[in-house]
Amino acid sequence: MSGGKLIGEGYNCFETEKQAQGTVLYLPDPSAVISLIQSGKLKDHVLLAQGGTTTFLAPALSMGAIGVITLSGAPESHLGILSREFQIPCIMTAYLVSSEARYVTGGENDAHFDEVIEGLNGKNVRLNCTDGETGLIELID
């Protein structure tokens, strides 16, 4: 499969040849997660969530999410562990390659988060998770 334009990177939770492809959907709160489940369109989307915890995306993971991007967290986080167990490609603490801004632990990250959400939400992307450390977010035309 030919590579798309690289627009983002982050921690790769586990190595896999699976390449999740779909429209990025930012989920701001639990009601958005429930609405997505009930819409029946879960598998159309690569999910974008803020934190690296499991509970927020719990029903989406259980019902068959195809790919996950987070704005914070690491493979050792619960969500990182669960994505490995479900074999759902997952890139954590994602950032835009076009920007210098990066997540700072314990820092003020709102502007950075807003920038990443704006840069990814609604885009048709593919997650390339073959590398042991870094996951790639590629834009698909």
């Binding site: 939770c13 586990f14 190595e15 896999t16 701001p28 709160d29 639990p30 009601s31 997660v33 429930i34 489940i37 969530a49 803020q50 934190g51 690296g52 915890t53 499991t54 509970t55 927020f56 719990a58 029903p59 993971l61 259980s62 019902m63 987070t70 704005l71 914070s72 967290g73 690491a74 493979p75 050792e76 986080s77 619960h78 562990i81 669960l82 490995r84 167990e85 479900f86 074999q87 954590m92 603490t93 997540y103 632990t105 314990g106 990250n109 042991g132």
Partner: protein, 470 residues
């Protein structure tokens, strides 16, 4: 890539680095300490007592620790916490459960309240009884007397609890020395009884938690079904494992108490076993009613047989919070056998624990998925205060609940010691921890840098408690 993970168990092997960060803690001015096997060795070398070496039962039976031993345990646990949790410091907000807030309140509560509960339990069942609590898990699956709960007694209740209270300036370094010893003695005795090799923590033994007796392991092996990676049966087991693990996290408010790995156990064919308890329905928590409604049992135990050659296994860690990490990271495609066992209730006799064929997992998976969605919906309707209070119970009650239940002191703790009440000091701290980023920045920085685990004074009286509030 050739599998050379067995080299990790050779005496002079330093292991792999799983992260780039390094640890300083109380060793300012000294070479920073890395993660993993090398980090363990360095931390042991900096100890001034013998408490971090293999210890015999006579030392475990001693009533209290010396100041030097307390400081060595304090330093080692601080590194151990960093080793298993530092990368999770990047986790950020949950969006669902205010975890940093409930964790912080709970671990301070534990430091205040656990000493008399653990002391009472020791009085009731004796020192050997506490050691036997740990030993009970050597021939059981589906028991919460496991690495993460046992570790939490010392690492969370003493280590992080004391660290947070110091950061809040609610206590001074030489306060509650006797109580610190009580907590750590209980932890040491349970862990020593469980392992029975002289170590207490998995990190001291190159991240092995090989606690089961050969006879007990042999009794589980006939249930293992061979699996062809990519086959429907393989997919069924893997999906079931993941779904049950997810529910176990959710039922425990996104903390690690729902998951308990032991191993790796090497099989005669060269493969390795991970035995994973997934506690999907803890009946102590009122929100678990949705699990009852879906007939979800207390625990599903998943046995995973992994082909180390096929995955080119370089290192496997079963860390002290009962979680398995490998290099390479993805072991799932290399699971070549598996089995599922069910323990219906926490006190179901081990003889009544039964296997479920992989072909019969589908209705159980549906129950897990339904319970997950119902629990999620229930949690999404709870207000922040309810979520924090419930989360506190998961930590403060849940971490020692297995030990008190097994010891037969749980009812006494509830009736005579107000186990489920929340100390007024902690209730007041609820209003303090949100100020000046105390919960979100100050305490995490103290915990993950190691700078907050202040030592006890060398000449302090080890029976000292706290009698002055000011």
């Amino acid at each position: 890539m050739a599998a050379d993970y067995l080299q990790r168990y050779e005496e002079n092997d330093d292991g792999l680095r799983f992260q780039d960060l390094v640890y300083t803690g109380n060793f300012v001015g000294m070479e920073p300490v890395p993660d993993g096997i090398l980090g363990d060795r360095i931390m042991k070398s900096r100890a001034t007592s013998g408490v971090l070496e293999r210890v015999g039962i006579d030392a475990v039976r001693e009533d209290e620790f010396s100041i030097a031993e307390l400081n060595d345990l304090n330093n080692y646990l601080a590194w151990n916490i960093w080793d298993v949790l530092v990368m999770r410091a990047t986790e950020g907000a949950s969006g669902m459960i205010p975890r940093q807030e409930y964790e912080l309140l709970a671990l301070m509560h534990e430091f205040y309240r656990w000493p008399e509960l653990l002391d009472m339990t020791t009085t009731e069942i004796g020192t050997q009884g506490v050691i036997d609590l740990g030993a009970s898990s050597r021939s059981e699956i589906g028991t919460k007397i496991n690495a993460v709960h046992d570790w939490a007694i010392g690492a969370v209740g003493f280590g992080m609890g004391r660290c947070a209270l110091l950061a809040l300036e609610a206590i001074k370094p030489d306060d509650y020395i006797a109580e610190s010893s009580t907590i750590l003695k209980f932890m040491q005795r349970v862990l020593w009884g469980k392992r029975q090799d002289g170590w207490i923590l998995n990190s001291q033994d190159r991240y092995r938690c090989q606690i089961h007796t050969p006879k007990f392991l042999d009794s589980l092996l006939p249930a293992i079904e061979p699996l062809e990676p990519g086959s429907p049966a393989h997919d069924a087991l893997i999906h079931f494992n993941a779904a049950a693990e997810l529910l176990s996290f959710l039922d425990h408010f996104d903390c690690r108490l729902g998951l308990g790995d032991t191993g790796p156990y090497e099989l005669p064919n060269g493969n390795v076993l991970i035995i994973r308890d997934l506690f999907c329905n803890e009946d102590a928590y009122h929100w678990s009613d949705v699990c009852d409604h879906e007939n979800v049992p207390h625990c599903y135990t998943v046995i995973l047989e992994i082909d180390p050659q096929g995955m080119g296994l370089q290192e496997i860690r079963v860390n002290d919070i009962s979680t398995t990490f490998t290099r390479p990271k993805n072991y799932i495609p290399h699971v070549v056998g598996g089995a599922i066992f069910v323990r219906e209730k926490w006190d179901t006799p081990i003889a009544d624990v039964y296997p479920v064929p992989i072909a019969e997992l589908a209705p159980r998976l549906t129950g897990i998925q339904n319970a997950t969605f119902k629990l999620y919906t229930k949690l999404s309707r709870m207000c922040r205060r309810q979520l924090i209070t419930n989360g506190m119970y998961v930590y403060y009650v849940g971490m020692i609940l297995p030990h008190l239940r097994r010891a037969g002191t749980y009812e006494k703790a509830c009736v005579d010691y107000d186990f489920w009440e929340i100390d007024q000091r902690i209730s007041n701290y609820y209003y303090e921890i949100g100020k000046r980023d105390f919960a979100k920045v100050t305490v995490p920085n103290k915990i993950f840098s190691g700078a907050g685990y202040l030592p006890f004074s060398e000449n302090a009286d080890r029976r000292r408690s706290k009698y002055f509030w000011g």
